[in-house]
Structure formats: C-alpha cells, structure tokens
C-alpha cells in the first residue's frame, strides 16, 4: 500500500509537470514582467524609472480609459448573456435534428474559419454611409431618415460592432450542441410518454443537463468580453472619439507609442478585473451547478 501511494505521488507529479512548466514559461514569467513594468516609466529602449502605482492612477483618470472600461463591461454582458443564450437556443433546435441540420451546423461555424480581416471588411462595407448596403436598402424602402453613418456616429458605432460579433455564435453553439447531443435519448422518450411537449422537454430536461457547459461557456465568453480586441481594432480602431474603445485597444495604442509602463498597467488592470468577474461567476452560477450535480 505504501508502495502504491508512493507511485501515486510520482504519477501525480509526472501528470502535472508538463502543464506547470509550460504555464510558468508562458504565464508566470510574462505576468511577472507585466506587473513589474506596470510600475515603471519605460519606453523599452532607455533606462526605466520606478513610479509606483502612478501609471494605474493616470489610466483611471484618462477619458479614453474610462470609455474603454465601460465598453469592456458592455462586451462582457453582451457576449456572456446574449451570445450564449442565442447559441444555446440554436444548439437546442439543431440537436433535435431538423431537416438540413448537418449543413446548417457547418454553415454556422464557417465564420470561425474565415479570416477576421475579411469579415471586418464586409461589415465595414455593409455599414458604410455612402455606399453601404444597409443605407441603400433603407433608401429603397423610403426610410432615408433612418440611415446613419453607422460606424462613425456616437450613438450607433458600438451597437454596430456588438451586433456583428454577438450573432457569430458558431463556436459556443458547437460545444453546447455536443453536450446536448450526449443526453441519453431515453430521457426524452420518458418525458414524451408523460405528455411533455417539445418546449417543456427542452426546459426541464435539456437545460438542467447542459447547465454546467453553459456556465463554462459564459465564463469563457466573459473572459472574451474583457479581452476583446480584434473586431473593434479592424472596424473602428476605437473611434469615433474613443466611443468604441476597449482596454485591449488602449493597451495596443500605448505599446505602439513605446509607453510600456501605461500599457502594462492596462494589462495588469485587465487581469485583476478578470479575476474578480470570473470569481463572481464561479461563486454564484458555478456553485449552483455544483450543488445541483451533488443532488443528482
């Protein structure tokens, strides 16, 4: 028994070691670098100067940073709530295998395979005020008063990018669907005998069974909301007037300006914010899932 326990420890360490080594290389060391440099005034080439928390104070006082942090929370909410809800809805519909479900599943996933650059170009063309298809369509319907410079007006820019991203549900739909399809058929047959209709079956069988993957998806989507960068960078670069900026954009702009101190203070802020949000999700929704699973 003692031999076995010794062996267990050996295996345990062996199983963990590769992950821990990689994690140290790619996260512990770089994050240490980020947090240390976030307290410096440093342009990357000349000697650095220690400034304590001044970079963080400067950031929180700047208007563009304030817009960015607000927008990050809007992104977080839209992705974690709206996108996941839509993905779950479509996954539940497709898991019932309606006509053409295989084809649709593939099509819904396509935007993930196409380069973001091309997708952003198409949306810029859709939204363009002069040539854009959306405005042309509205004019055709005689609704000229509804046309906008979609990506260039303060009121419409952020919603335009959000809509573009929130409806690309492919990845989350696939993982939720995989989970949905692994629910044993017999559960639904039993419910059908009891007279439950489709909606009731989804509500009382599917939803509880996929709750754990939903929480996982929401956590991931929340993390994406905080880390969001690419679509905004490609469509508006944070404009007009910082109204669509997010922390990732601020970080990138500061890095380009060789202002590593402030840039890494943005990075540090993102990590701390993320920790708080994820802890909140896990300690509320996650705990309920764990409790429910224990009951079963």
């Amino acid at each position: 028994m003692i031999v076995r326990s010794g062996q267990r420890w050996l295996w345990l360490v062996l199983f963990l070691a590769p992950a821990m080594v990689l994690f140290t290389m790619y996260f512990v060391y770089p994050l240490g670098f980020v947090f240390v440099t976030s307290t410096l005034e440093w342009n990357g080439v000349s000697a650095a100067k220690f400034v304590g928390l001044q970079n963080y104070i400067d950031n929180f006082g700047s208007r563009s940073f304030q817009f960015s942090i607000r927008n990050n929370f809007i992104w977080l909410g839209s992705l974690a709530v709206v996108q996941i809800a839509l993905a779950a809805l479509v996954a539940m519909i497709l898991a019932r295998q309606p006509r053409g479900w295989r084809f649709l599943r593939t099509v819904y996933f396509l935007p993930n395979v196409i380069s973001q650059v091309a997708i952003a170009m198409m949306w810029a063309a859709l939204y363009n005020a002069e040539y854009g298809a959306i405005n042309q369509f509205l004019e055709l319907l005689g609704l000229e008063h509804l046309t906008h410079n979609w990506l260039g007006e303060i009121g419409t820019a952020l919603p335009s990018i959000l809509i573009q991203q929130v409806f690309y549900i492919g990845y989350f739909m696939i993982i939720i669907m995989a989970s949905t399809m692994s629910i044993p058929e017999s559960y639904y047959q039993a419910a059908q005998i009891d007279g439950a209709n489709v909606l009731q079956q989804e509500l009382y069988i599917t939803l509880p069974m996929i709750r754990s993957i939903l929480v996982t998806s929401m956590t991931l989507a929340a993390a994406y909301g905080l880390r969001h960068f690419e679509a905004t960078f490609l469509l508006t670069d944070g404009g007009p007037a910082h109204r669509t900026s997010v922390l990732g954009i601020q970080l990138y702009k500061m890095t380009s300006a060789l202002d590593y101190g402030h840039a890494n203070a943005v990075g540090g802020t993102l990590v701390v914010l993320g920790l708080i949000v994820i802890t909140l999700i896990r300690s509320t929704l996650g705990r309920r899932v764990a409790a429910d699973e224990a009951k079963q």
Binding site: W11, L22, F23, Y26, V113, I114, I119, M121, Y131
Partner: protein
C-alpha cells in the same frame, strides 16, 4: 377539455415551428453571407470593392487568383499552418488532459490555489505579452522555427484547455473510476481507460478551440518567425497589405483558396467526431 389542450398544444407547436425556422434562416443568412460576399469580392477590382461592395464585378478578375498563387507562396505556408495547428492542438490536449485529470480526480495539497492560478491565465490579454514572449523564445534558441509557434500556441491555450477539460472531467461519475480501481486499474489506467475516453466532448471542445486559435493567429506568428520556411498562412494573406494600399481583392482570393481545404477538413472531421460522440455517449 382534452381537445382544447390538444389544440393549444398544436398551436404552440405551430408557432414554435415557425419561430424555429425564422431563427435558423436568420443565422443561415448571417453566417453564409460573408462567404458568398468574399467569393464574389475576390473577383472584383479594388475600386469596385470600395464603391460597389455588393454588386457583381463588371469584369471577373481571375487575375486576383493568379496574384494570390504567385505572390505569397501559399502551398508552403499552408503546410506550415497545418503542421503548427495540428501539433499545437495535440500537444495542448495531451498536456492539459493529464493535468485536468489530476485536478479533477485526485486530492493533493495546494490543489485549488494551483488550479485557480492556471485558470486565471484565461484572462490574460495575450496581446500585451509580446516583449516577454519574444525574450522567452529567443532564450530557448527557437526564434524563427515552427517549434517556437507550436510551443507558444500550446502555452497560450494551456489555461483555456485545462479549464474546459477540467469542467468535463468533473462531470464523469466517480463510480466508474471506483469500479475500475476495484478491478485493479492503476493510476495511469484510470486515466487512459476510464477518464480520457469519457472526456471526448471536452477533448473536441478544447481541440477545436486550440486549432482555430493556431490557424488564425497572426501577431505572434509574425513576431517569432522571419523566413517563409517557418511562417504560416495568416502571414501569407497579409502579403497583400502594404504601407499605403491594401490589395484586398487579391487578398480575398488568397483567403478563398485557403478556406476551401479548411472547410473540407472541418466537415470531414466534424462528422467523425460527432459520430464518435453520439455512439460513445454515456449510456445511463
């Protein structure tokens, strides 16, 4: 009474059916449109793309495809992308499934803090780590190699993959493992024979994610490589960007050429994976 209930049921069923198809068609248009647009645009001139983004090209510019093939040495870059994406996917799955197994199924000191530490990595804005990653890869002597990219993509995806795998492994009933242990299964066998095969959903989920990330990644591919021999497709696509002008239509032609195989691979693999899922699902 019963008849009314039945009527209500069919009515509800009817609206649900109409609603269902509205949802499906909406998402179909939303996701299929970019592909069609991309395909048509890849035959236009750049001026047409700018001024008539949704019309058909006046003259179909097959030249764009010639440019795409000539300029950016696509086949080599495509091969590199396949190697990098496949290797980093398998490496990530191997490393993280072992770690997740230990975290989900074993008990040891500092377990929760360690797990939380790794999961916190999901939140790190990767774009802010250019300087440390460049230093790291250089100090390992891996600058300008495919291995640098494979290792970096594995490292970047470690937290998310551990997170997903851990979530799935947690849901596997403990009785299965206990039964195996009574049958004399060792530590390694509990992993290879029980937990790993039952985590297929998790493996697919994490694997898809890592693959897509590696396939689409641009910033680190540029930072960590310099010769065509070690560069990936995303860099080839950017070959049509230049200081004052981007040849979008030739770039689109290159994108179309590269997504045809990726869609084929995706459709083929996905069918296999889903089959594996439904046949191997937890039976009761």
């Amino acid at each position: 009474m019963q008849a009314v209930a039945a009527q209500r049921l069919t009515f509800a069923g009817g609206t649900a059916r109409v609603g269902k198809w509205i949802v499906l068609i909406f998402f179909f248009i939303f996701t299929f449109l970019p592909l069609i647009w991309l395909l048509i645009s890849s035959f236009k001139t750049n001026l047409e793309l700018q001024t008539n983004a949704f019309g058909l090209p006046a003259i179909w510019q097959f030249q764009n495809y010639v440019n795409a093939v000539q300029i950016s040495s696509l086949p080599r870059l495509f091969l590199n992308s396949v190697i990098v994406s496949v290797c980093s996917t398998f490496l990530t799955l191997a490393v993280t499934s072992m770690a997740a197994f230990v975290f989900a199924r074993e008990k040891f000191p500092l377990q929760q803090p360690l797990l939380n530490l790794i999961l916190a990595g999901v939140l790190v804005p990767i774009i802010g780590l250019m300087a440390p990653y460049f230093r790291l890869v250089n100090s390992l002597g891996l600058y300008d190699s495919l291995v640098a990219l494979i290792l970096t993509y594995t490292g970047i995806n470690l937290p998310i993959s551990t997170f997903l795998m851990h979530g799935f492994m947690k849901t596997i009933p403990a009785e299965l493992e206990e039964a195996a242990e009574i049958d004399g299964a060792s530590f390694v066998q509990r992993f290879t024979k029980v937990v790993f095969p039952l985590s297929r959903v998790g493996l697919v989920t994490a694997g898809t994610f890592v693959f897509l990330f590696s396939w689409n990644e641009f910033i680190y591919a540029l930072l960590l490589t310099s010769r065509t021999a070690s560069r990936t497709l995303q860099l080839g696509i950017r070959f049509f960007v230049s200081q004052f002008f981007t040849d979008y239509t030739s770039m689109f032609a290159a994108i179309v050429l590269t997504i045809i195989p990726s869609i084929a691979v995706y459709v083929f693999l996905h069918e296999k994976i889903i089959k594996g899922l439904t046949s191997g699902a937890l039976k009761g």
